[in-house]
Structure formats: C-alpha cells, structure tokens
C-alpha cells in the first residue's frame, strides 16, 4: 500500500503571524511542518521547529506532535501540543467549519472603531459572529473581521459605533470560517456616506474589486432605502469604483438620499436587520486604443468555492507549527495511495 506525497510547499509568516490554511486535494494521512527559520536559531524561550500530524483519529483537533528546541540550545524535546504547557497545533478540517464554541465578552465600546473586550485565543484577521450584544443589539448576528487581537480582546475596524447610544455591556462571540462557502459573498453594511460617489463600509475585510457589480439590500430601519434596486431609476447594478480594506466606493450619488444609520439597539428583536450587499457580476471596460481592460479581476469576480475542503489548519505561534513573525515554514502532506487511514477524506 504505497504512501504518496500529495502536496508540499512553503509559506512565510507576515510581520504579524497568522494561522494558515493548507488545502489538501485528496485528504491526508500524515502532515508535517518544518520551521526553516527557527531551525537555525537558538532562542531563550525555545521554539517548535517541527510539527507532525497523524491521521486515523490519533490526534484531537488542535493537536499533533511538536519537536521543540529546548531553551537556549538545539537539544530537541518531543511531545504533543496538548501537553502542558499546551500550545496550538494542527486541526484537520474535513467539513465546512461550524461556528466555534461561544465566548462571553464584557464590553464593546461605542467608538470608532468599536473595541470588544473578551478573553480569547483568536488570531489577527479571524472572522467572528457577535450576538446577544446587550445595549448594542443592532449588531447581534453580524459577522466581523477582527484586528489588533490580544488575549483580552480585539477591534472591529469595520464598525464605527461612535453614534451608538450605548456601549454593549455583555455579548457572546463565536469564531467562524474565514471564507464563505462560495465567493464572491455577501457582506454586512455598517455605514454609507452622503457623497457624489458614496463610500460604503463593510463589517469584514472584503475581496470585492473595482468594476464589480453589486446590489444592496437595505431595510427601512437603516434609512437609506434608495440604495435598493427597486428605488433606482433604471434598475442597473451598482458598480464599485474604488476599494479599501473595509470600504468600497460606488457609482451612486447618495447626496439626496435619506441618511444611513444603524438602528437603535432598543428596536431589537423587531427591527428589521441587516443592511447587506451582494455580488451581481461585473462591468469591465475595454479600451481598444490601449488594449487595456479595466474593472475586472479574473481571480476574484467569478463565482467559485470559497474554501477548499479538506484542509489543514496550521496554527501560528512560537510554540506552534505555523511559526512566528517572518518565519519560513515548509510543509508536506502524505496519503495512502488507495483509500485513506481516515476512511473518508
């Protein structure tokens, strides 16, 4: 029964290390990472230089074997990531992830950006759903990208809550899959400016591109219902003219529209939620003189799967297989040639 190398490669951690998703086209029965950067160093706190994961149910989620250099030497200790002192390891993901277990937070500030206080183990750029936000129910059920993450909380850059009447005094949060099942996806709208070309802020870091067509769904409770297609004179899709990490600029003059405002918390649960925007194709232009096509991104615009499943979720960190800032990590995945130890990919 031959064992086959199904994929290999390297990744380099950015300045703020993030968890990595490694697609595994035919599943895996064995996965290994080697930290090529830390192999050559001797750190005072020691470093995980190699991580291994065996299939067949030998390891729970977020576990595996860690090969760890001991403090200030190159001697190796091997144990499981779950061994005290535990650190994050590998999670082999076979199905689209459900929301993780809920955490209970204490406050979300009425500020720009809103800052949430909750003891957590989340990572920079993770996607979360916040719900039951007492005093801030207008965001309950909304999905956010989180940043400036610490063990005590994170920022919601996509939410300017400075106009909210009250901060949230308690809330629940669950981490969810970073990517939607299908891309391009819909997003939640948190603000829209009054401008000749309106700037729309989304609750998540988005992957929309210039030239992409979109359609708004804005309930009356958010004010600016004129964004809805049925209010538009010619029913044409709205076109994105510029993008930021959390913002899109659109070809709509909203100067005369009703102001966009998140509804009051007190309106829940009967206030209609949410204002959203969804992909509606694209309108590219081609200049026959310069032969330049603008407004189209062949990678981002077509409808396609958002997440390749199965994949290996490789956690980042000094004591984790994904390594820390600027580390170069090599990885390989192996699989039985016929069938799989796991029984099912």
């Amino acid at each position: 029964m031959a064992f086959t190398l199904v994929t290999q490669g390297t990744f380099t951690q950015p300045a703020t290390a993030v968890n990595q998703i490694i697609p595994l086209p035919s599943g895996a029965d064995y996965f290994v990472t080697t930290n090529l950067t830390q192999m050559a160093t001797t750190q005072g706190t020691g470093r995980v230089v190699r991580g291994e994961w065996y299939g067949g149910g030998l390891f729970a989620d977020n576990d595996g074997l860690r090969w760890k250099k001991t403090n200030s030497s190159s001697a190796i200790n091997i144990d499981k990531f779950s061994t005290s002192t535990a650190s994050n390891g590998f999670t082999y993901v076979r199905t689209y992830p459900n929301p993780e277990a809920a955490l209970t937070g204490t406050t979300i500030t009425a500020a720009n950006p809103a800052v949430a206080t909750v003891t957590n183990t989340y990572s920079e750029g993770d996607t979360v759903v916040i719900y039951n936000a007492v005093g801030m129910q207008q965001i309950s059920g909304m999905t956010f990208t989180i940043s400036s993450v610490s063990s005590a909380g994170f920022s919601l850059v996509g939410l300017d809550a400075s106009a909210f009447t009250t901060p949230a005094t308690a809330f629940s949060v669950r981490r969810v899959a970073t990517a939607a099942r299908v891309k391009p996806q819909f997003y939640y709208v948190t603000s829209v400016t009054h401008a000749a070309q309106a700037v729309v802020t989304l609750s998540q870091a988005h992957d929309y591109v210039v030239g992409q067509a979109i359609e708004f769904m804005v309930p009356g409770s958010f004010g600016m219902v004129q964004l809805n297609n049925y209010y538009q004179g010619q029913s044409k899709p709205v076109i994105i003219t510029a993008v930021g990490t959390y913002t899109i600029t659109v070809n709509l003059n909203t100067s005369g529209y009703t102001a966009f405002a998140m509804p009051a918390s007190s309106g829940s649960p009967t206030t209609q939620l949410f204002a959203t925007v969804a992909p509606a194709g694209q309108q590219a232009t081609f200049n026959p003189i310069t032969n330049v096509t603008t407004g189209y991104n062949f990678t981002s615009v077509p409808f396609r799967s958002g997440l390749f499943i199965p994949y290996m979720y490789v956690y980042s960190g000094d004591q984790s297989p994904g390594g820390s800032a600027s580390d170069v990590i090599a990885y390989q995945a192996y699989k039985m040639e016929t069938g799989t130890i796991n029984g099912s990919p």
């Binding site: 129910q137 059920g141 809805n228 029913s235 949410f274 969804a278």
Partner: protein, 322 residues
C-alpha cells in the same frame, strides 16, 4: 482454564455464522434534492477555458425621449452589459474494493456501490448549489414571529416583505398556477416564486397565517414530493440539508436561511460530457497481485447568482428553540 477435549456437542461447538442475506438491500437514506430545482441550466463547451460568462444587457432608460421638432436627436444611450462569470470545478469520489469483497460478498456489491456513487453525485451537486445560495445572496431577518428572537420565527409579514422586494425588482414567478377544482376543501394555487427551507421549519410553516399545505392543493398531479406548502406567492420546498448556521441568533439559537427566488435568479453550469462520469478501474491496473479495484464518480459544475434582484430570502429561527 479449561481445554477442549476435541469432543464437540451443541454446548461447546462454535456455530456457523448464523446469517443469511435477505433478498433485498435496505434503502440508503437520501435527503431531498431541492437546490438545483428552479435554477437555469447552462452548458460549457470543452477547450474554451474553465470560466463561463453569462451576459445580460440592462434595459434602456425611459427618461426623456420626446422629439421637439428641431431636428436634433435625443442623446443616444450606451447600452450597459452585465457579465456574470462562474468558474468550473470538478468533484470526485471513489470507492476501493478488495477482491475478497467482490469474491465473497453477494453479487450486488458492485451494483450497489455504483448506485451509491450516483447518489453521492446528485447529493453533492445539491449541496454545492445550497452553498451558493447561503453565501452569495442578501437575506433579511424575520421579525414578524413571536418567539422574541432576532431573527424571529417565520410569519406572513416576512414572506410578504420578500414578495414586495421581488415584485419591486420585476422578478417573474416560476411555477404556474394550479387551477381550483371541485375537490372539497381545496382552492387554487396561483403562480408562484420558489422558497427553499430546512425541514426543521415545517412546524412553523404550518402555523403561518394563510398557509396552504400541499394536501389542500387542488391537484397532486405533478407536485414534487419535496414540496411542503404554499404561503402567499411562494411555494416552499424542504430538505433536511437546507442551509442553517447553529448558535448565532440573538438568543444563541440556530438560524435557518430560506432562499426565495423567481425565474433566472441563479444558474448551474454543466461541463459538456462531465455531468456525471462513473467508472471502474480493474484490480490488475492498480496492484501487482490484482487485489484492489476502484469505482469512481466525478462531475464538473459551475454555479452563479445570475440576477441578484430576482433572489432574496429570509433568515429565521424556529418558534421552539432548535
């Protein structure tokens, strides 16, 4: 410890395996396949790339246009075309069968495995279309229900709100009307849009004001088994695998997503000759001693929301927490 003396009787002789195969295999469970129902089917040719483009010209402006007799034409209008692209993806599943299985099991094994692969093929396709609906469409939370959650359980007001949106966007209904007959207790069902719901919502659907359960339709002829009821301008089809997200409503309950749409709202694109490929790899191809054979199924699919204005939907919780 005792040892056998070699004399065997009914008390200590190991019985033969007391099994015999019943003449028929039992049914393999299969969920309702509702998510490809009502979407447009397009075909992609070979050798021309893996992205399919569907294009639509937007209608011309009806503003102005009056001639004033001066001989000067009204301003010409540049037609706007919207392109909807979808990337082809291939999915596959295989079953490895040891020769002993084929040799010793009853002769239905390979036949049944082939049927399993065929079932996987259609189920996978259904779930891929479900994922398209749940990821790339805007939904509004139900608020007309009385369970105190956000979103609430489904109500007539919520359904009517989506009807308003679709009609306001000039969406066309998809299902033709069912004319009233003289059957007692039945009424006509008018032309309708489609709504897709999780089976966990059935109890709540029954309670929506004005609901017409399928049994009260004027005819059962041509009605799909997946259909559950009619509310307002929508006919509801249910599946146990319809979209849901656990634990994220205001009260931490499961949210169910209900796509509601009319004609030409979404598309499924099949690669010509790759709609359903089922094959068999004989054992001597795989192994020197010809042990393992392999059955496989694969198909190619691309999917897209082709008109975002003609599809919308509701997020709902159940009246009783689920």
């Amino acid at each position: 410890m005792t040892f056998s003396t070699g004399i065997t009787g009914i008390q200590n002789m190991a019985p033969e395996l007391p099994v015999q195969a019943s003449e028929d295999l039992l049914s393999t469970p299969q969920f309702n396949l509702i998510h490809s129902f009502g979407v447009d089917l397009h075909h992609a040719e070979s050798y021309v790339g893996k992205t399919t483009r569907m294009s639509r010209f937007e209608r011309l402006s009806t503003d102005g246009g009056q001639l004033d007799g001066s001989g000067i034409d009204p301003a010409a209008e540049v037609p706007v075309r919207t392109d909807i692209d979808a990337t082809m993806e291939i999915y596959a599943k295989s079953i490895v069968t040891n020769e002993q299985v084929v040799l010793w099991e009853n002769s239905k094994t390979l036949t049944k495995f082939t049927a399993l692969l065929g079932q996987w093929l259609r189920e996978k396709e259904d779930l891929l279309m479900r994922d398209l609906f749940s990821s790339s469409v805007s939904y509004i939370n139900c608020t007309g229900g009385l369970n105190g959650d956000q979103p609430s359980n489904i109500s007539l007001n919520d359904v009517n709100n989506i009807e308003n949106i679709l009609l306001g966007n000039d969406a066309r209904s998809m299902l033709t009307d069912l004319e009233a007959t003289r059957r007692i207790g039945t009424a006509g069902v008018r032309d309708a849009f489609i709504a897709l719901a999780n089976t966990n919502l059935c109890a709540d659907l029954q309670k929506v004001q004005g609901v017409l359960l399928k049994s009260a339709y004027p005819t059962q002829e041509g009605i799909r088994p997946e259909e559950y009821c009619s509310i307002s301008r929508f006919r509801f089809f249910v599946s146990s695998k319809a979209a849901k997200t656990p634990g994220i409503s205001l009260r931490g309950n499961t949210i169910y997503t209900i796509p509601m749409y009319g004609l030409e709202a979404a598309a499924k694109i099949e690669q010509n000759n790759y709609t359903a490929v089922i094959g068999y790899r004989p054992p001597w191809v795989v192994s020197a001693v010809a042990q393992n054979s392999q059955l496989y199924a694969k198909f190619a699919i691309a999917r897209a929301i082709t008109n975002q204005n003609w599809i919308s939907g509701l997020n709902a919780t159940t009246f009783t927490a689920s």
